[in-house]
């Protein structure tokens, strides 16, 4: 009883789903084949189910599917362009930031959200951004290195950026 039709954009593609009122976004995404969204704890602790909702990381296990209606969702499936990995994904590979891989999709996504807001984050800012995704294999050292490397790589690739170092430094001071 009381099925709902919701429309959302997932990785740039419009989707239309029929969901039950009590369905959670995590379950609907996995049912629809977005298996990069991991079901870890179902209590909002581990962060393995993180997706970007209108660009911001959220734990999809705590979002009702009905609340995603009209919103933009990004999962790890949408990060690579075909066979070409995103610089964030490449950095995780290069720096050994992946071990079992279970938390990796979420780490990639929270990193993309961080770098969109803060292109040259400090190490503290990186640690803060990753703090809601639990890795039980490698610890956080290598993922932190990977994010910093990705930030540097993206900043180098960005043409006509403002003088390096000045803007991020101001941001860090304001926090």
């Amino acid at each position: 009883m009381g099925e709902l039709v919701i429309r959302a954009t997932v990785n740039g593609a419009p989707r239309r789903w029929t969901v039950a009122p009590g369905d959670l976004l995590l379950d609907v995404l996995r049912r629809e084949g977005y298996w990069g969204v991991k079901n870890g704890c179902e209590t909002g602790e581990c962060g393995a189910c993180a997706v970007l909702l209108d660009g911001e990381p959220v734990n999809s296990c705590l979002v009702f599917a009905a609340q995603a209606d009209g919103r933009r969702i990004e999962t790890v499936e949408g990060v690579a362009a075909g066979d070409r990995l995103d610089p964030v994904q490449e950095a995780f590979l290069d720096h050994g930031g992946v071990q079992c891989g279970y938390c990796t999709p979420a780490m990639i996504l929270v990193t993309r959200a961080l770098l969109a807001r803060t292109p040259r984050p400090t190490e503290d800012e990186v640690r803060e951004a990753l703090s809601g995704v639990f890795c039980r294999c490698t610890g956080f050292k290598k993922p932190v290195e990977a994010v910093l490397a990705a930030a540097a790589r993206l900043a180098d690739a960005r043409p006509a950026a403002p003088p390096a170092g000045r803007k991020p430094a101001r941001k860090a001071a304001a926090r």
């Binding site: 009122p21 959670l24 909702l53 911001e56 705590l62 009702f64 009905a66 609340q67 703090s131 809601g132």
Partner: protein, 308 residues
């Protein structure tokens, strides 16, 4: 988990949200308002039959109050919104931003709202101590008490009276729509400082104890106004009024701060649970209030106008 949920309402106005909740209550069956879901979904009450989602209400804002100064904050403003608000960062030493920044992981803060944080009435609610230290009030629309008043009736409840017990907010079926923060009464030539402190295994954990302090001194360096609020150290977040009284009228210095902290600990009524024992909480209340008051002192001392 929510298999029995048969209705998920998404109203666009507060009036519609109240109307829907009233109609559902009349029809019987348990239900709830939901915003970020970071408490409601975790609580996992499988008996819920209906939900009224607040996400589409126009309640996500931080605004300056017109007359008299101060601020109003819409109840669906997220922890991340508060944490990043440049305006609130400049107000009261950013004490609200600091508290919001500790309320769970980044993903939780992107969803969790100020309204949900307060309306769940957890004794450990991170925003309660700073808001109590700012004399904040809750604006409630509708509900049993409001219904008797004019249509669209709203009532304002001092935050201290909003918390009636663990999980028992003074809502009476109404909806928390706004938090009001009055302008602090800083006299000419006076100075003010606020600080937030929290103890958890990690910063983002549910607090073992949290505390906030606010102090206003006159140009004579005597304390004119003091607020000390402590969370997770009693059935509700509480004001340590005797400790505040100890400060007022005296020169505000380290000795005064330590004496007030000791007295504040005596005003707590902590319980022992999975996070800490009552004794530990009482002792940590003293430590955290002491640190918060020290931070206030330091912030005043750093002021270029400081006379000592």
């Amino acid at each position: 988990m929510f298999d029995r949920l048969r209705a998920f309402h998404r109203p666009a106005t507060v009036a519609a949200a109240l109307r829907l909740a009233t109609a559902e209550r009349r029809a019987g069956g348990r239900g709830a308002f939901v915003a970020g879901g970071t408490d409601l979904v975790v609580q996992g009450d499988g008996s819920l039959r209906w939900v009224v989602d607040l996400s589409l209400l126009p309640l996500r804002y931080v605004r300056r109050r017109g007359a008299g100064g101060g601020w109003t904050i819409g109840s669906t403003t997220t922890m991340a919104d508060l944490e990043r608000s440049a305006a609130l960062r400049r107000f009261a030493d950013g004490v609200l931003c600091d508290a919001a920044a500790t309320a769970g992981s980044p993903q939780i803060r992107n969803r969790g709202t100020i309204g949900g944080n307060l309306a769940n009435a957890s004794p450990a609610c991170d925003l309660a101590p700073p808001l109590l230290a700012l004399d904040a009030s809750a604006v409630i629309a509708g509900g049993a008490a409001g219904a008797r008043k004019a249509a669209g009736g709203r009532r304002t409840v001092a935050l201290e009276r909003f918390f009636r017990g663990p999980g028992r907010p003074a809502l009476n079926g109404g909806l928390l729509v706004e938090i009001v923060i009055p302008a602090p009464p800083v006299p000419r030539g006076g100075r003010a400082a606020w600080a937030f402190q929290k103890l958890g295994r990690l910063q983002s954990d549910i607090a073992v104890v949290n505390a906030a302090a606010g102090v206003i001194v006159g140009s004579d360096c005597r304390c004119r106004w003091a607020r000390i609020a402590i969370g997770a150290a009693g059935p509700t977040p509480l004001r340590a009024r005797r400790a505040e009284a100890l400060l007022v009228g005296r020169p505000f210095d380290r000795d005064a701060a330590q004496a007030a902290a000791a007295r504040a600990a005596g005003e707590t009524r902590p319980v022992s649970d999975v996070r800490a024992t009552a004794d530990y909480r009482r002792e940590m209340s003293r430590v955290l209030v002491g640190r918060a008051l020290d931070e206030c002192l330091e912030r005043m001392g750093r002021d270029p106008w400081a006379s000592w």
